[in-house]
Amino acid sequence: MKKLKYILFTFYFLLFTFTLIAQQQRFPKPEFESGYEQPDTVTPEPRALALEYFDVLVLILVLSLATWFALKTRSRQGVLWLSVFTLIYFGFYRNGCICSIGAIQNVTLSFADPTYAISLTALLFFILPLAFTLFFGRTFCAGACPLGAIQDLVIIKPISLPKWLNKTLGLIPYLYISLAVLFAATGTDFIICRYDPFVGIFRMDAKFLMVVLGVSFLLMGMFVARPYCRFFCPYSVLLSWMSRFSKWHLTITPAACIQCKLCTNSCPFDAIDFPTNEKEVVKSGLGTKRFLAYAVLIPIWVAAGVFVGERSHTFLSKANPDVFLAELLISNPEIKNDPDNLDVQTFLASGKTMETLVQEAEVIRGKFYVGSMIAGGFMGLVIGMTLLNTVVFRKRQDYVPHKGNCLSCARCMDYCPVEK
C-alpha cells in the first residue's frame, strides 16, 4: 500500500511538472512587409503608492490577528483560515511580491549602495514581522507568510525528523542568508527572489526548473512539514533570533503542564522541547570539558571561514553579470562576433570600452573579496556556536515549544487537555 502511495505521488509529480512546461510555448512575432512597426514593449507601471501602503496595513492586520489567534484565543482554526487569506492575498493576488523574505536584500543593498533608495514599504515589510516576533514569537510564520501558508496547507502526514538531522539541515538557512546578503550587497543578484520556489506558482508563469522545485517542495511538504521554512528560509534565521527573546511566546498549555505527553507528537516541525533528563546528562559526559573545547574551537572555525571565503571570492564573483561578461570577453574574444549573444551585443552597442568594463568588474571583485571573507567568517561562527549549543543543557521540567523553531501554528494547543 505504501509503495503504491509513493508511485502515485511520483506519477502526479511528473504529470504536473511536464504539464506546466506547455506554458513555455512562444510564438515568434510576425514580420510585416507593409511598413507596420511593432509597438514598443511597455513596462507596467509600478503599484500605486497608496496601494503599497494598503499592503502594509494588511500585513499589520494579519500579523495582529495571527498573534491574537495564537496567544489570546489559542485557535488553530483561526490561524488556519488566516493563512488561507494570506495565501490568496499576498500569494496569488500580490503574486508573492513584496515579501518580507526578499526584503532582506533590499535592506542590504540600501546599506551597501548609497545610490539605492529602499522604499518605505520594503523597509516596513522587513521590520514589522521582526518586531512582532521580538514580542510574540513567530506568528508571522503562522499566518502572515504566503510561502509558509502554501506549505502548511499541504501538510498531510508529517513525519518527525531525528534531532541530529534537524540540527544539521538547520545550517542551510545560515548559508543561504550569507550568500543572499553577499550577492545583494555587491549588486549581483537577488537570489532569494530568483530562487523563490513558490512565486512561479503564485504567478502561474514559472520556468520549468522552478516549477519542478516548487512542486518538489510541496510534495515533500506532505510528509516533511514546511521544508522551505525550516531548512531554507533565510528570513527564518532573523526570526529565530528574535523569537528566542520574545516575551509573550505561545505556550502549549494554558495553565500548569500535567506531563500527560499527549502533545509530544503534535508538532509537525519538531519544535517541542522535552523535559531534561538530568541523570542522562550527567552520565553522558557532555559537560564542561566538551563545552570548553567547542568554545576554543569557535575562533578556529571563524578563521577557517574567513580563509575559505577569501579563497572562494573569485568563484563567487563570477555570478555577477559584469564580472561574467568581462571574463567571457577576455577568455573568448571571438564571442564579439556572435550576433546571438545578447549580453555581448548589448555591451558592444552601449559604447562602453573594454577597459571600463574590466575596471568595473575588478571593483566588484574587490567587494566580493571583503564580502566573501565576512560571509565565510559568519558561517564559521554559526558552525562553532551550533556545536557549542549541542553541549548546553537547559533545565526543563515541562513540554515547551522551542522559541527559536516554533512557528506558532497553534497545532499543539489542540492536543493539550488542560483548560484554564
Binding site: Q25, W164, F274, L348, S350, M379
Partner: protein, 612 residues
Amino acid sequence: MTNNDKLKLAQNIAVISGIFCSVVALLLLLNYWQFAKNDPIESQALEVLVERLREDPNNDGLKTEIRQYDLLARKAYFNSQWQVKTGAFLLLFGAIVLALALRVYYALKDKIEEPDKVLENEIASRILAQKGIIIVGAVVFILAFAASFATVNYLDKYDWETASAEVISEPVDEGIEVIDVGQTRAEPVPAEQAAVETAGTEIQEQIADAGTKEVLEEPVPSAAPVALTLEQIRNNHNSFRGPLGQGIVYHKNIPTEWDGASGTNILWKSSIPKRGYNSPVIWGDKVFIAGADNQSREVYCYNRNNGNLLWTGKADNITGSPASPPRVTEDTGLSAPTVTTDGQRVFAIFATGDVIAFDMNGNRVWAKNLGVPDNHYGHSSSLITWGNKLLVQYDTNRSAKLIALNVATGETVWETNRDAKISWASPVLAQVDGKFQVVLTADPIVAGYDVQTGKELWSVECMMGEVGPSVAYSDGVVYAANEYATMVAIDIKTQEILWDDDMFLPEAASPLAHNGLLIVATSYGVMVCYDAKTGEEYWEHDVGRTLYSSPMYADGKLFMMDNDGVMRIYEFGKEMKLIAENELGEHAGTTPAFANGRIYIRGEEFLYCIGN
C-alpha cells in the same frame, strides 16, 4: 452526518478531484504534444507556399492563400495558449480541492496517538548532531576551497598593454591618452566618387579633377600656439552660431534670394559623404563639417569657393574609443556637435567621446577619448575655442563638467565639475570687463566660467528639464530658455534675474540677442521677438514648420532656417517684416554659416554655397 459519512464524503471528493486533476493534466499534455508536433510556424505547407511565392512574386492568389494559412496558424496558436492558461487554472483549482479533501480526510481519520513509550535518546541525538554539523561544515568549507582551485581569474589575464597598444600613447590624467600622429595624411577623395556626386545636376557644381587632390596648403602649426583675436573670428565663422557662439555675424552683402530647385543663386552644392546634424564653420577659404555612421567618424574640409572636397580626416584608432558606437536617437545621431577651428587646427567631437584635432591640411595633430558620454539621445554640445583652449561642455548622465584642452597637444588644461545634470546645449563666450568667460546652461544652473582657469564665476539656479538651446548674450545680459521650463534674462554681473517669461519657449533653437531685441524660435514653428531689456513682446510669426536651427543676425537682417529647408529672412526690428522665403530643396535643421556675400547651408545630403 456521522463521522463515517464525513470520511466517505472527503474520500469521494478527493478521488473525484484527483481524477479531475489527472484528466486536465493529461489534456494539457496532449495539447502540448499536439502543438509541438504541428507547430504552425514550422508548417511545411506554409514553407512550400512561401517558396512558391518566391518563384512567382506577383501571384496575388498565392499571397491571399498564404495570409489565410498564416491567420489560421496564429488562431491555432492563440487558441492553444488559451487552453493552456485555462487548463493551468483548472489544474490549480483541482489541486486545491484535492489538498483540502485530503486534509479533511486525514484530520477526521486522525486520532491523538499514544505517546511514544521510548522517546528519542537526547544525548545520543546530540552527539550525532555534533558529528553532522562538523561533517556538513567541513564539506561546505572544502567545497568552497576546492572551487577556488577550479576557478580561473580571467580579469588578471586582461592585457592592459595590448588593449592600449593600438596607438603609441602617453598617458595623461586618468587613463585618457593623447596621441601625436601629426604625420598622418588625410585621405584623397576618389575621383569617381566626386564624379558620381555631380552627375545629373544642372546647377553649377564643381567636379574634382580625377586623381588629383586640391589642397590649399597651409603651414603645419608649430607647437607654440598663437592665440585667436576677436578680429580674426569676426572675419570668419569659426564655431556653431558664428563668432563666440552668439549668433551675430559681421559679414556684409549677404544674399537674400535663392532657390534650390532652379539653382538660382546656388553657387555650388557638394555631396556630404556621411550624415550629421552639425553646422558648417568657415576659416579662410575652407568650410568644415563632420559626419558619422556606425562604421566611421569623419571631418570634411571643402574649398569654400568651388565646393571641392579637399580632405577627409578620419577619427579612428583613438585609445579608449568604444569598439562600436553608443546607441543614439535618429534625430541626434553620432555627429551632432559642430566642429570649431582656431585657424590653425580644426577640432571635432563625436557621440563616442572622441575628440580630434586636424591641421588645416587634414593632418591629424592629436586625438583622445573623453570617456563615452552616457547620453540617451547622443552627445550634441558643440565645441568652441578661445585663448588656446578647446572648450568642451561634457554634461552627461554620469557627471557634468567643462573641460579645457590645450589646442596644440590635447592635454587637459583644466577641468571643472559642474553641479548640473545632462544637457545638449553648447558653450557661448561672453566678454565681461575685458575678460572672457564661457557661459553654459543646463538643469538646474546657468553659469559662467573663467576661460583661463575654469573657475565658476557665477551661477543662477533657474533652469530645468532636458536643456537643448544654448544661451544668448548681449550687453551684459545672458538669456537662457528651455521648453517646458522658462526663459530668463540674467544680469551677468549681479546675477539678478531681470525678467522671466514662459509663453514661447524653444526646444532646440538657441535664442538670439542683439541691438535690444531678443529672438526666440519654438520647435512648433513660432518666431517671437521681445524687448531684450523688459521682456515685452514686439511681434510673433507662426511659420507652421518645425524650427530646430538657431536664428542668426547678419547684415541687419534675421535669418531663420526651418527643418524643411526654407529660410525666412526678416528685417531685424521691432516690427515683423518678412523679406524673403527661400527654399533649399531638401531638409535642413542645421544653422547656416556666413561669409562676405555668401551663406553656407548644410542640408541632409548636400552642402550648399549661396551667393549672388
